[in-house]
């Protein structure tokens, strides 16, 4: 990297973020916090992409990171729409109890 930490440090941080997000997705029941943990996972991926873009001196990684950001915004839009729809039907906000697709 410039003069600071090498790319391996950034990748290790990205791995920790991804693992933490995966842990949150697996253990939490509240769909809102599952979505928040999903954001952490996506951000870990983004950090790795940007670190590799800087490492290779190539812009494609940054473009990919911006596309991931747009996809994350879409996912939040649909996910929060689902949470609001579930809440309106007076169902429990618990991903373990929401096991049926029938309305």
């Amino acid at each position: 990297m410039l003069q600071g930490p090498g790319i391996v440090w950034y990748l290790g941080l990205a791995a920790f973020l991804f693992a933490t997000g995966a842990l949150g997705v697996l253990i939490r029941r509240n769909p809102l916090i599952v979505l928040l943990s999903l954001e952490i996972m996506l951000n870990g991926g983004n950090l790795a992409l940007i670190a590799f873009a800087r490492h290779a001196g190539n812009g494609a990684g940054q473009i990919f990171a911006l596309a991931v950001m747009a996809v994350a915004a879409s996912e939040v839009c649909v996910g929060l729409g689902l949470v609001v729809a579930i809440n309106r039907k007076r169902l429990d906000l618990d991903v373990d109890k929401l096991s049926e697709l029938r309305g």
Binding site: L2, G12, L17, A19, N46, G57, Q62, I63, S74
Partner: protein, 180 residues
């Protein structure tokens, strides 16, 4: 490039601070029982990630991170959490069930796997980074890339956003259906 031109010690200090804030807020998001606090710590996480992006000379992505993520997306999150109402949930209460033990093992295995793969590769090509020109990561450069080399990705992203917006409206609309 602004921060990168400073001394290496300063870069390391900023990296350690931002990295620690990033890790701590990520753990906080997963372990807070109140979703409101979780969302607030995710804003801290996104902010410290933006600092790391600046260290990697990705200025436009850092700005977009703060504006799009920490601004728009998190405001929407906080709005929905306030609309749904606070629902407490204690993630570690009631003793460790098989589900949380398995989840912790899976996440730890994932982390170790990536670290081992990194350690195996760390000495080789990952050691030397390319030198980049001064415009690397600036908005003008990103914009030129988006409209030349990556035009298809740019257009498909716009379609994805449109579809998601339509989906959000359909999911949120008050349609009263007769019970089947």
């Amino acid at each position: 490039m602004i921060i990168g031109s400073a001394g290496p010690v300063l870069v390391w200090i900023v990296w350690v601070l931002a990295g620690f804030a990033c890790l701590a807020s990520a753990v906080a998001v997963v372990s807070f029982s109140n979703p409101f606090y979780s969302a607030l710590s995710l804003i801290g996480n996104l902010g410290s990630l933006a600092i790391l992006y600046l260290l990697l000379s990705a200025e436009f992505v850092a700005a977009a991170q703060v504006l799009v993520y920490a601004g728009a997306v998190m405001v929407m999150f906080l709005f929905v959490i306030a609309y749904v109402g606070p629902r407490m949930e204690t993630p570690w209460a009631g003793g460790p069930g098989w589900q949380s033990i398995g989840a912790t093992l899976a996440a730890g295995a994932l982390f170790l796997e990536i670290i081992v793969a990194l350690g195996l590769k760390a000495g080789g090509r990952l050691k030397h980074s390319e030198h980049v020109h001064r415009t690397f990561g600036t908005p003008g450069w990103i914009g030129r890339l988006f409209l030349t080399d990556h035009l298809l990705a740019f257009e498909i992203t716009s379609i994805v956003l449109l579809v998601a917006a339509v989906g959000g409206v359909i999911l949120g609309s008050h349609t009263k259906r007769s019970p089947a």
